[in-house]
């Protein structure tokens, strides 16, 4: 394994059990189904996909908010996939954190900002004074003031709350931060502010990000490497410019076409990925998960599963057409 790989995920699976019907037959939703990724130190891995494709689950598995079904996760060459929750707690607090999508529900409404920010450090056994000092330092870093320490979340706008969420994630001086759709709940003018902030913090503290979003143009802007996820699998991955400028997988093409453009006059073709396909088909059918929505699908697509393979240097795709 190379030295600069911070996180390496091998064949990660996370199945959620569901019981349905009179016979209570046990079935599984395969939220993450055999994902392999490497995240390099100081870089941003962008994860794109629609809701329900498993990108949040993948992020939460890596920082071990969820127990994994099978597979391996290496953090700095140390296997953390099988650690017990008590063991994982210390390593998570020290080096891995998450910024959540919805800044309205991610902060406890009855806590002051000071208490919200202190929480991760108190878990580590830091003193109150240390917490306050670091809290003030980080609030300044995210563009807020010390005065805000005694205020409560409802007094802030969405953008400011997301800044507090980012400051909280950085309190324990992590190396790796999962950003789970951090800007999709924000206004356009504030989105750009938060994106710039995340980039500045990355440069200053040498952070490594896993950045999940459904908007490919934002992911491309943030990331060095992009992974496109569909139905629990990575269907395409590569350097962000390569994926963006020359998408290979039919699903990536659709995703890219769907982004409304301000300056382009071209009307979008109607897209027929019915969301129903997303959660059922991958569990029931063998074969390519996208085969039932794909306009290029042939018979053999529905039979065998395509594997992720390198078709150009630094550009992988899981499709039978390449």
């Amino acid at each position: 394994m190379k030295d600069d790989v911070l996180i390496s995920v091998k064949n990660l699976k996370k199945y959620f059990p569901v019981r349905r019907g009179i016979l209570k037959e046990k079935k599984y939703i395969k939220a993450v189904d055999g994902v392999c990724i490497d995240i390099h130190k100081g870089e941003t891995f962008g994860l794109v996909g629609e809701s329900g494709c498993g990108k949040s689950t993948l992020g939460k598995c890596i920082i071990r908010m969820y127990d994994i079904t099978s597979g391996e996760i290496y953090f700095k060459n140390k296997e953390i996939g099988k650690l017990k929750s008590s063991e994982i707690k210390s390593s998570r607090n020290n080096s891995m954190q998450i910024v959540f999508q919805d800044p309205y529900s991610a902060l406890d409404p009855s806590w002051t900002v000071a208490k919200i920010l202190s929480e991760p450090l108190i878990q580590k056994g830091a003193s109150n004074k240390e917490c306050m000092e670091r809290g003030k330092y980080l609030l300044n870093k995210v563009g807020m003031t010390e005065m805000d320490m005694e205020r409560r979340p409802y007094e802030f706008s969405g953008g400011q709350r997301q800044r507090i969420g980012i400051a909280r994630a950085l309190m324990s001086n992590p190396e790796f931060v999962v950003c789970d759709e951090p800007i999709s709940a924000l206004d356009v003018s504030v989105q750009a502010q938060v994106i710039n902030l995340l980039k500045d913090l990355q440069e200053e503290f040498g952070l490594t990000y896993l950045f999940a979003s459904h908007d490919l143009s934002i992911v491309r802007y943030m990331s060095d490497w992009i992974g496109v996820m569909y139905s629990g699998k990575i269907v395409e991955s590569g350097y962000s410019d390569k994926v963006y400028k020359n998408p290979l997988h039919p699903y990536t093409k659709i995703l890219l076409d769907a982004i409304p453009s301000i300056y382009s006059e071209k009307r979008k073709k109607d897209i027929t990925i019915s969301p129903e396909n997303l959660d059922n088909f991958s569990n029931v059918y063998e074969g390519c998960p996208f085969a039932y929505s794909c306009e290029y699908a042939k018979e053999h697509c529905k039979e065998g599963k395509p594997l992720l393979q390198e078709v150009q240097s630094g550009h992988f795709v899981a499709c039978f057409h390449y």
Binding site: E50, S157, G158, S217, L256, S261, Y263
Partner: protein
């Protein structure tokens, strides 16, 4: 008064180019803890049959409140202080509650942002649709059922007869939004107000819903007000655009004027800070520093003054007046667009 409205409607059909709705000097206030907070003021705009008017602004800019004022569904502590809303020539703000209820749903329909909270989780989709249809069109049970199926098919829900018996939680976000559209269009309204109809949806689902709206809008020749904060969606859908900020209309113009020749500093900043496929990747994104003004701030001058890079002393102290350009293009700014180009 409602009868008068119906008569005007007949007359209106003959002169198709007549305004469908005209909003004059609308001002809505909130009463909160004994304070009076002005939420929107000096709102003036018109909408013609068959056109799609985009209303763009950040959260808190007053776009939803404007629409709620028009529909008469304001929260209890809000009040329309002055202004007129002439719908087919009749001021609908003066209608009695009973008359307004006839108007909503039948003449003016609304689609809300969050398709989960807009539907009653304890009622089937069939119940929702039949309620709207039987209230406004009468007809027997059989008629409303048939009409409900027809509408669901129209919005692209397969197996309409069976899916109708299901509850909202059994539908995905995009499907729920289709149900809301079916409800809103079931009485063939002349005006549809869509409040952020695709914001809560995935990009691929967005395209489906927008294409559906566009198709139905042309089919029914219905005027649409599309509220959104996504300029990409605006550019795709709208014929005319209003930009709102801090409770004021900052700029109004046709789509091409707003997108390609914006004359207000706020519109320009919004366009610059949006990420777009056609633009290259800059090292840093352009941002508008600061946050939109809160209702508690008492503003003497222009609401955008604090975040505007062209702001001067005058902007702080005096409320600007509209600058007019060709084809009804106007901006609320002390400076003309050409002047801004030079600076």
């Amino acid at each position: 008064m409602y009868f008068e409205l119906l008569q005007n409607q007949e007359a209106g059909r003959e002169k198709a180019m007549d305004k469908l709705m005209e909003v004059n000097n609308l001002k809505t206030i909130f009463r909160l803890n004994g304070k009076v907070l002005t939420a929107i003021q000096d709102i003036n705009f018109e909408i013609y049959p068959g056109e799609v008017l985009g209303v763009v602004g950040e959260s808190g800019s007053g776009k939803s409140l404007t629409m709620k004022s028009i529909m008469g569904i304001l929260p209890e502590n809000a009040m329309i202080e002055k202004g007129k809303v002439l719908y087919k020539g009749v001021n609908i703000l003066n209608l009695k509650e009973r008359e307004k209820r006839k108007l909503r749903g039948k003449e003016i329909s609304m689609i809300f942002q969050d398709p989960m909270t807009a539907l009653n989780p304890l009622r089937t989709v069939e119940y929702h649709l039949k309620e709207v249809i039987s209230r406004h069109q009468g007809g027997g049970k059989l008629y409303s059922r048939e009409k409900a199926i027809e509408m669901l098919k129209k919005v692209g829900i397969r197996n309409a007869e069976e899916r109708m018996k299901q509850y909202p939680h059994e539908f995905s976000g995009g499907m729920r939004q289709r149900v809301l559209i079916a409800m809103a269009l079931s009485c063939e309204p002349s005006l549809l107000i869509a409040d952020e109809p695709v914001t809560a949806l995935d990009v691929t689902t967005q395209v489906q819903i927008l294409n559906l709206l566009k198709k139905l809008q042309t089919e029914h020749q219905m005027a649409t007000i599309l509220i959104t904060h996504d300029l990409g969606v605006t550019s795709d859908m709208c014929t005319r655009v209003i930009i709102m900020y801090g409770g004021h209309i900052m700029e109004e113009g046709t789509k091409n004027q707003i997108i390609f020749h914006p004359n207000h500093p706020y519109t320009r900043a919004l366009l610059r800070s949006s990420m777009d496929r056609e633009k290259g990747v800059a090292k840093r994104l352009y941002t508008i520093e600061g946050y939109p003004p809160s209702l508690y701030e008492h503003l003497q001058g222009c609401p955008f003054e604090k975040r505007c890079r062209f702001a001067s002393e005058k902007c702080r102290n005096e409320v600007p007046e509209y600058q007019y350009y060709e084809d009804g293009h106007r901006t609320l700014c002390h400076f003309r667009g050409e002047k801004l180009d030079e600076r």
